[in-house]
Amino acid sequence: MTTTIEAPESPGSPSVPEGTTPRKPAAGRFRRILRRLRRSYDSHWYAWAMVLPVVLVLGVLVGYPLVRGLYYSLTDINEANMGRTIGVNHIPATYEWVGLKNYRDVLSGSDGNFYPKLQWTLIWTVSCVVLHYTLGLGLAVLLNRKVRFSGMYRIMLVVPWAVPAFVSAFAWRLMLNKDNGVINSILGGAGMDPVDWLGQPTTAKIAVIMVNVWIGAPFNMVAILGGLQAIPKEQYEAAEMDGATPWQRFRYVTMPGLRPISATIILLGVIWTFNQFAVIYLVTEGGPFGSTEILVTFAYKLGFANIRDYAGAATYGAIILSMLILFATAYRRTLDRKGQETA
């Protein structure tokens, strides 16, 4: 945290006139910094007190493990050498600093896992986010019109969001079961051969995407519906006066009006889907033959497999984190630039 004082402009932080102390070169520099800190504290302590609980919880339970994880990724720590206490015997840790070796191994592709898994993770993320967004948008636009029973439809459409993830995963596994599942029995009724949904790499990939889209579309729909209702009616009326076709109204009124909410849900959607551990793990456990394994589930397996390779798991964690930070920064930049162009 910096000690610079931004001009307080809100009722929460009473304004303190800036620069009232005359500058004295060299002398009392330390005291001036102290005073500034003090004044900063006086005008901001309310804000800090209110964010403190969150900062504490996140700092202790996420920040510390995160730093710890980054450190582990530079060592060769695993279950065997991490040191432990069994009864009264304390076995000292013997893991060593290896520098960037883990990263070199992963990024050079010599572990044979990173690039194939990255490719599938990208396909998975892009297809899920695109389907989430377009389905959510389509349904929201339909629900936003004057429709009879729209309340009923809305409740039914949000149901997948309200079901706990492991129940949904279980329900889908039951339905996708090769011999006893309802989907194959419907296909059979239509004269098609049963599909071994979760036993074949390609169909398993389709199945996990399907399940995740089913789970995630309602959130997008509700968020976009909220965004649609926030667009002023006058804009539509004005567009209609100018003779805009329905498509033009959608293209030039609805879409720009949805830009803020779209930016948020797409960013969050990419982050959540990239790290969607639960769906993959509960539906296929990454199988068959690791074909549906995304980077996160693979990192988990490294950390919890036979010999627990904590360094490997931490390295994957750090790489995932850096990729997402890069993405978020680039995404924000592009949006800002676009916003300036249109403004």
């Binding site: 997948p160 039951l174 996160v296 964690g317």
Partner: protein, 303 residues
Amino acid sequence: MTTTTTPHPAPTETPTPARRTTTRPRGRRRGERGPLASIALHATLLVASAIAIFPVLWIALTSLKPGDDWQKPGSFAGLSLGNYRDVLSDGSFVRWFGNSVVVALGTTVLGVFIAASAGYALSRMRFPGHKPLMWAFLVVQMFPVAVLIVPMYTIMSKLHLINTYGSLILAYCTVAVPFCAWMLKGYFDTIPREIDEAGRVDGLTPFGTFWRLVMPLARPGLAVTAFYSFLTAWGEVAYATTFMNDRKHYTLAVGLGTWVGQFKSEWGLMTAASVLITIPAALVFFFVQRHLVSGLTAGGTKS
């Protein structure tokens, strides 16, 4: 509208036909549609709704089938509540259910409260650390949970929290709070600042303003975040498996996981248990659903 350049005789004549062409010939007003469009609209929504609720209905239906009949998708003979009787007669189920309720409610109350307080500060006050904190909320969601479990376990055991409700409540807060705080910040932004100012004039502290004036107005936003926190905690498995290693302290999700091994592929019982797990989530959903849309409206916020 164009100014008429016609000379003096009839200044009102030219506008009238012009207006007529824009309003008259349209048979339908905006928002009305033909019967075909209506049918297509309802058909689309019906199909989508059917897809949305089918898996849930299917698991509910399967749970009523006796014995191994879950393997026969086409058979609906002898439906009974037998699976539910078996599930509920197991003493641990009720215990695990209780554990889950405590953990989920604890997460909801604590998570929403600290997220709201941080969200309010972020919405109303400019302070050093404002921007980094908004970024931190995003970054925290980027680090894979799976990698955090082991170091978090170490911390929890140092704090003597293993096998307590506290460990899970805190862990779930780390998952739920970043999104909730971000969302609530957006919601508070839509509440006019004049309300705060009025409160301050009446001598309330910033915290008093937040608690007495802004919180009641933010009910839709709070409802959505409560729903989100509750669901986060209610169905989670990974943390729950790691932090609760004593059978007495299992949450429902973990306990049922042990069942799958214990009664080999008793999917019939699992379906009944799944329905029972879904009911509390459905209840919470039912209470907040009318707030969902308005509560999320504010989600479209710039950081």
